[in-house]
Each structure stands twice: as C-alpha cells, then as structure tokens.
C-alpha cells in the first residue's frame, strides 16, 4: 500500500545544511540542466559566441591595466607581482575571483521575479535557482583561471603544485556567495529597493578587496578590516596559491570556511522562511 504523504510542496521545511544537501541530491538533473542553459544562454545569438567567456575578462583586464598601472602607476612590492606583466597577472587573478561573487550577487535581486512562473504555476524547487547562478559563475571563474595559467606559461611562469589547492579557497568563497545570493534574492522579492543597494555594495566590495592595488597602500587602521572581507580573503588566497606558490594562512582558511558556512546557513534560512510568501507578492 502506498504511504500517505502530503503533496509535493513549494516550501520544504528544512532550514539547515542538511536540507540544502538533500535538495541538491534530489535535483541534480535539474541543476545540471539549468546551469548548462544559463551558460549557453549568456552569449547565445552573439556573433562571437563561445569566444566571449574568454574575451570579456581579457578586455576588462586591459581597461583596468590602463587605468591603474599606466595612469595611476599602481605597483606591487612582492617579487611575484612586480612589473607590468606581474601587475597584470595579479589583477587578473583578483578579477576572475571577484567575478564569481559579483556575477552571482549582482543579479540575485532579480532572480526570483525573473522566474515568477516557477513560483506561481508549478511546484518548483526554487532553492536551486541561486545555486545555479553560483555554479554558472564558478564555471566562468574556472575558464578565467585557465586563461590565467595560459598567460602565466606564455610569460615563462609555471604555477606550482599549490595551485591544485585552489578549491580550498574557492569552495568556502562559493558557499559564502551562495549564502548571500539566497538572502538577497529572497529579501529583494519584498524590498525592491535592494536592487539599487546591491549594485552599490558590489562596487564597494570591488574597490575594497584590494584587486588593483596592494593592501599595503591602504591606511594601516583599515587594513585589517579590508583584509577580512570575504571577497578580499578569496582574492588574496587565489593569488597566493597561483602566483606566489604559497599556502595562504592555514588557520585563517578554516575560519573563512566556518564563517562561509554560517553565512550560507543564515542566507538559506532567510530564503526558506520567506519563500512561502513569494507567490503572494509576485
């Protein structure tokens, strides 16, 4: 005999990490489908098509290189980042890392309204939408890293074995980003103003995360604050592993993993608690 169960519902109860894991496991196919689509859609219909994921970061790098290295004469003191080429690689590594955050969070406030049909018309596991955003951004980030490695080798530098530990930096960073996307996408359904605020916050973090300038150029009083920004931690970690060939702060990465998990749990809880009302607002 079949078991009695409630109908599939659009508002699962679980709030914690286990609930996220469950949803991830049951919706594997859907997540893969949506992520593929998200990536293929991005440049669909453009003349250069698949070249854009490579071209876009390279062109961006050119702009920043001109403004900061040529115009402002910014420079790193560390030996692995000296010179124009060193500066370019350092900025690029930071840019690629930061884009995981900015791509995901920047569009988070429009995420749920853009999928209004999935909210109102079907029982859809809405919690996969933020995940798909972050996964797509991660894939783009991986492409960026591949470009970086090719560029390094072209300049006669080979990344050390430490480069293989990059996931240790990126996974906590992705979890943190996911947590922020959960919170932002949920709150933005109710508070449309968030769209404006988020743009500003992302820009603030962009300039605050020491992407174009060494942290040492910042007044000493605010250095610890900027260094502890999750985006700055990830940017610096990526550089250390790939460019400097050093392991970034052993204990600090544990702290960053723990705090990332905390952000994820809080963001997910916020999403789950407010999703029952999505259908009523949209």
């Amino acid at each position: 005999m079949l078991e009695v169960h409630e109908p599939p519902r659009a508002w699962p109860d679980g709030l914690g990490i286990r609930a996220i894991g469950r949803s991830l496991a049951t919706n594997r196919e859907l997540i893969a489908l949506l992520t593929r689509r998200e990536l293929s859609q991005r440049y669909r219909g453009s003349a250069l098509g698949a070249a854009w994921p490579v071209l876009q970061p390279v062109l961006l790098l050119g702009i920043y290189l001109f403004v900061f290295a040529v115009v402002f004469g910014a420079e790193w003191q560390e030996e692995w980042a000296r010179g124009r080429a060193g500066y370019a690689l350092t900025v690029f590594a930071g840019l690629v890392t930061f884009q995981i955050f900015s791509e995901s969070v920047g569009s988070a406030s429009r995420l749920i309204p853009a999928h209004a049909n999935f909210v109102k018309r079907v029982v859809f596991p809405l919690e996969v939408l933020p995940l798909v955003k972050v996964l797509a951004a991660l894939v783009q980030g991986a492409i960026g890293i591949a470009i970086l490695v090719v560029a390094m080798m072209a300049l006669g530098r080979v990344p050390g074995p430490e480069a293989l530990l990059l996931p240790l930096v990126w996974i906590p960073f992705a979890l943190f980003t996911l947590g922020v996307v959960y919170a932002v996408s949920a709150i933005a359904v109710y508070l449309r103003d968030l769209d404006q605020v988020i743009g500003l916050v992302v820009t603030m973090l962009f300039f605050g995360s020491a992407i174009f300038y060494p942290l040492s150029r910042v007044p000493e009083t605010i250095q610890p604050l900027l260094a502890s920004l999750p985006t700055a931690v990830a940017v610096e970690g990526t550089r250390q592993l790939l460019l400097a060939g050093r392991l970034p702060w052993g204990s600090a990465s544990m702290v960053s993993l723990a705090s990332s998990l905390l952000v994820l749990v809080l963001g997910y809880a916020c999403f789950q608690k407010s999703r029952r009302g999505f259908a009523d607002v949209l």
């Binding site: 005999m1 079949l2 078991e3 009695v4 169960h5 409630e6 109908p7 599939p8 519902r9 659009a10 508002w11 196919e29 859907l30 489908l33 949506l34 689509r37 859609q41 999928h115 049909n117 999935f118 109102k120 018309r121 079907v122 029982v123 859809f124 596991p125 709150i187 109710y190 508070l191 449309r192 916020c270 608690k273 407010s274 029952r276 009302g277 259908a279 009523d280 607002v281």
Partner: protein, 427 residues
C-alpha cells in the same frame, strides 16, 4: 480470513481553508515573516472555507463555481503551489497540474527546453524525456515553434504544449484548470479523447471548466464551490443541475423583442444552452422552445417583491399528436426543495389537441408569497394518459431552465419558506 481494507482515497482534502493576507506594503510582509510582531501587519481575506472531500482512485471530479469562487485556489492547494491556512491535503499519487495557462513554462526558454525542464521537475531523467520527446512534440503539433521561446507562442500553442507535457508524464492525478477553453476545437477533442483513454487506465481527474456540460460528460462527481464555501459534493448529474439552477436564478440579460421574435421558431439561447446539459429529459416529441420570467405587465423581470405578480411564459413546438397535452412548472429553492408549481391539467385548463408543426404558449401567473432568496424554475410538457392520469408521458422537461430572485422587504419580512396569507382575529 482476509479482511482487506478498501483502498484509501487517492486524494483527501481535509477541512481545508485558505486565507490570503493582504498587506498594505510589500515590505510589511517581510517584517511580518522575519520579526513576527505581536500586532499583525496584514488583513485576512478568506479564499476558501472548510472544504472537505475525498476522491477515490480512478474517479473524475468536476469543479464548478463562478469566477473567483475559489476553484483555482483549491487546485493550487492540491497541486502544492500554495499552503493551506487550515486543514490538510493528502495525496497518494503522482500529480500533474495544468493550472490555468502556462504550466510553469519559462517565457524565455524554448518549447524544447521547457519540456525538459517540466520533465525533470516531474522526476523524469534526461534519457526518459529523450524517449518521450517525439511523442510530446507530435501531440502538441506546433511544428518548428518547439525551438522558439515560449513567449512567442499564441495561447493556443501554449496550451497545446502544456497539455502534451502534462499527459506524457503519465500522472496518476491530472488537474486540468480551464486549459481546454483555449485552442481550437480539434485540439480540444484530441485532449478530451486522451483524457478519456487515460481515465480508462485508472487515472484520477480533477477538472475545472465553465462548460458545465463538459463536466457532466467527463466526470463522475461534481464539487461546487461558491464564494469559497463548498456548496455540493456528490454525483456529477446532481451537482451540475444544482449549479445550473443557481446560475439561472441570477438576473439575466433582457432579450430584445426583435430577437425574441427571431427565436420563436428555434429554441431560445437559454433553452439551447440547457440542451447540452444533463437536466433535460423526455422524448422531445414536443419541445420547450423558450421560458420567460415576466412581471404582471409582461415585461421581463428577474427580481420580485412580496406579493408581486410573477408570470412564467412557456413556448413549445410540437412534432407529434397529443390529445391531452399538459404544461407544468415547478419552483425550487436553492436547497433543492420543491416549493410550488402546478399544471394545466390539475388546474382544469384543457389545452386544445396538438398537431405536428403546432406551436403555442402557456402563461402561468401567480402572486409571490415566497421568502427572499433565489429560486429556480423547472418546466415540463406531458401527455396525460386516459387510463391513468397520474402517470403522465414526458415529452420534454428542463430542470432549472430559468429562475428569479425574491427581494427582502424589511417592512414585510417572510420568516419561513412561504407566507400562507394568515388572517389574525382577536375575538
């Protein structure tokens, strides 16, 4: 000794109620959800009150009700897109829901992508969807549009694809909400045929349609919801009849005199609509062609006060001979109780013998002694047999063919079903 319990119902809706909270500002909703203040920031709006029914595996239930009665809310509760405020919904099977238009298609995705998405949401693997894709595309029959974004579709194409997807997922319960109203007739027929095939294989159906005859034709049971309240749940024939009667008793449009003349030969729109329902009986050798509710001066009217004269005019057209022709009417209240009515024979009015091709009109006049409320009218044409006048032969009978409303008069209340002209003496 085996004592196997009967299989449990596939769907149980247990005392379900749904209140929507109306907030003044969207951010109030967020504050309410996160902070739970002691004084709520919303007002309640009840969309459903205490709806309670069970559906057995393989049954088909038609859901009747006017726009805004709460039908869609109920279906959303069953499909699980909306949470009930009270009560619960138990489902023992895989559901596919066609809730209004759209079926959760993403407007920017192509038809193909949406098919895959819908399949994956239903729990099918990519390979399974690959295997069914051709069938879905063939059923939807929208050609190369399958690879264009859904936002470029007409409503008809949208409905075609949505229906094709829903049925191909092989649901145990199919919820169809008004989807068949769009699209061309051919496709509608195709859908109905398909639904019937699936029903033969044991699928349970929940069906909402404004086309009451379709509910009567497809469904075993009917659920009638009015203003969020369950008015009826039971056999489809009875439910559709009750529902139709309530519709008839609503004030209707006044027919123009010219139009009435044109209708004289054929059945009136009212009667024709009724023909498709289940509540018409008889041999049809003599047919009711129109029924009008008029006031004492012959003007069409739907609302009456206490003691006002009500006139019911019945037009008929004959295709046979009848020596002892009889016309009758009956007034029922909303709960289905027969309140009053009579027939020409009983009143001693002898109608002239009827020949094929004859038409005629009978007018019933009476003074309204009913309490305020809505009333339905049924009309019948019969032949009174010489041998046993108590067993008339039925030519035509339409239940709930028309109706009227009795208005409340605060100065002259009628407390019970009707007033019987009581005289009071104080000796």
């Amino acid at each position: 000794m085996s004592c196997e319990a009967p299989p449990p119902p596939i769907l149980e809706v247990q005392s379900v109620a749904k209140a929507y909270r109306v907030y003044r500002r969207p951010q109030d909703r967020l504050l309410q959800a996160l902070l739970r203040p002691r004084t709520p920031r919303w007002q309640e709006l009840w969309a459903l009150h205490n709806v309670h029914f069970e559906v057995a595996r393989g049954e088909a239930v038609g859901i009747l009700g006017r726009n805004g009665a709460g039908k869609s809310t109920l279906l959303q509760l069953i499909a699980g897109t909306v949470a009930p405020t009270r009560g619960r919904v138990l489902v023992r099977g895989r559901i596919a829901a066609l809730l209004q238009l759209g079926n959760g298609f993403h407007p920017d995705y192509s038809g193909r992508e949406n098919v895959y998405m819908a399949g994956v949401i239903q729990g099918l693997s990519r390979a399974e969807i690959d295997a069914r894709f051709e069938e879905i595309a063939a059923f939807a029959d929208i050609g190369s549009y399958i690879d264009r974004p859904v936002k470029t579709y007409s409503t008809g194409m949208h409905a075609r694809l949505a229906f094709a997807v829903a049925i191909t997922c092989d649901p145990e319960i199919l919820i169809v909400d008004e989807v068949l109203a769009v699209g061309d007739l051919l496709f509608q027929q195709k859908c109905i045929t398909r639904i019937q095939q699936m029903r033969e294989r044991g699928m349970t159906l929940l069906f909402v349609s404004h086309a009451v005859d379709r509910v009567a034709g497809l469904c075993d049971k009917a659920l009638w919801i009015e203003e969020g309240r369950q008015r009826f749940f039971g056999p489809a024939a009875e439910g559709t009849e009750l529902y139709l009667r309530s519709l008839r008793s609503e004030p209707a449009r006044r027919p123009a005199p010219a139009a009435r003349a044109a209708q004289a030969a054929a059945d009136s729109e009212l009667v024709r609509r009724q023909t498709r329902g289940v509540s018409r009986y008889g041999s049809q050798e003599v047919r009711i062609t129109d029924v009008r509710v008029l006031d004492g001066h012959g003007a069409p009217r739907q609302e009456f006060h206490f003691l006002e004269e009500i006139v019911i005019e019945v037009d008929w057209a004959s295709a046979t001979h009848s020596e002892r022709f009889n016309v009758s009417f009956l007034v029922r209240d909303e709960t289905g109780i027969n309140l009053t009515g009579t027939m020409t024979w009983d009143e001693g009015v002898v109608l002239p013998p009827v020949r094929p091709g004859d038409t005629g009109t009978v007018r019933f006049r009476f003074f309204n002694r009913l309490r305020p409320g809505r009333f339905g009218i049924s009309v019948a044409l019969t032949e009174i047999p010489l041998e046993d006048p108590r067993k008339p032969l039925l030519f035509d009978q339409i239940d709930g063919v028309s109706g009227f409303v009795v208005l409340a008069d605060p100065k002259r209340p009628v407390h019970y079903k009707f007033d019987s002209d009581v005289r009071i003496e104080i000796p």
